[in-house]
Symmetry: C2
Subunit: 169 residues, 2 copies
């Protein structure tokens, strides 16, 4: 279960409300994991029961600010250093890019072009994130942003090559 560890990581860097965590998931962990509010709220409650997260403040609109406890940080460290990673991936885009090569060139090109448009947007978003981090004087996660940028560049190049290939004999 990566959800709790993702939440502990986010709360470690910055205490947040459940609602804010939904947004932070999209913004930073978006291309590794996804979680909706209906999963986040119950999980925060479980983390509190187990002493790994706590409510450290209350704000307007009945919002509560959560933070990781020492036990939560210890659990995240233990998970990273002592447990065997689950390598199984669930990436629909990857499945699409795989089976795509069964289509005839015209259909294939249309799909590839949509994919390229998406990756272009994604790359632009990441580039903005990088600019923002650098302007703010850095972040621990700067290296992860950099990895994302490099991966996107590889995908863009590959997609352009595959689009070109649909036009060959």
């Amino acid at each position: 279960m990566s959800l709790r560890h993702a939440l502990l990581g986010l709360l470690w860097t910055k205490p947040s409300s459940g609602y804010e965590l939904v947004g932070r998931f999209e913004g930073s962990l978006g291309n590794a994991w996804h979680a909706s509010h209906s999963q986040i709220y119950p999980e925060l409650a479980r983390l509190r029961e187990e002493g790994m997260a706590e409510v450290v403040g209350e704000g307007p609109r009945n919002s509560r600010t959560w933070a990781a406890t020492d036990a939560g940080r210890a659990e995240l460290r233990r998970w990273l250093t002592e447990t065997e990673p689950n390598r199984s991936i669930r990436n629909e885009t990857g499945v699409r890019w795989f089976v795509l090569f069964l289509l005839d060139p015209d259909d294939r090109r249309a799909v590839l072009e949509r994919e390229l448009a998406y990756v272009d947007e994604e790359a632009a978003r990441l580039d903005e994130t990088r600019t923002r981090i650098d302007a703010d004087g850095g972040s621990a996660f700067r290296p992860v942003v950099d990895l994302g940028i490099r991966m996107d560049a590889v995908m863009q190049e590959w997609l352009r090559e595959q689009i070109d290939a649909t036009r060959e004999p």
Copy 2:
């Protein structure tokens, strides 16, 4: 639900038994999707009910060979060209690489080195796959193998840089 489309793609390229599909999933779609036999067998039965897959032969040990039907191929094509991709990803390794930067340099390096060892193995496997495909006179999926090889190269470089960074002041 990508499972059925992944299955249709695999069956399109080569009719197989459920048991063989488990192996083919690992071998080719492994870094995009994962499925175990307990999910594959019921899904094949559903695909048959819906006319998208059929049993085209029986072999020893009560094995049955499945193939995609015309309706199955049409459905795969429709899914690729007409439906909006679900971009949400579930990749525990990605979550780990993200939260890793909360650890102190020594712990972080230990985890990064394990990750590099894994990616090295992964890259070696993919390289074998490429060699085998080229020796066999090619495959439609050769481009996807190439993408994987490039991604692995980016990850190897990034991991080496991050390992070096744990040794800096």
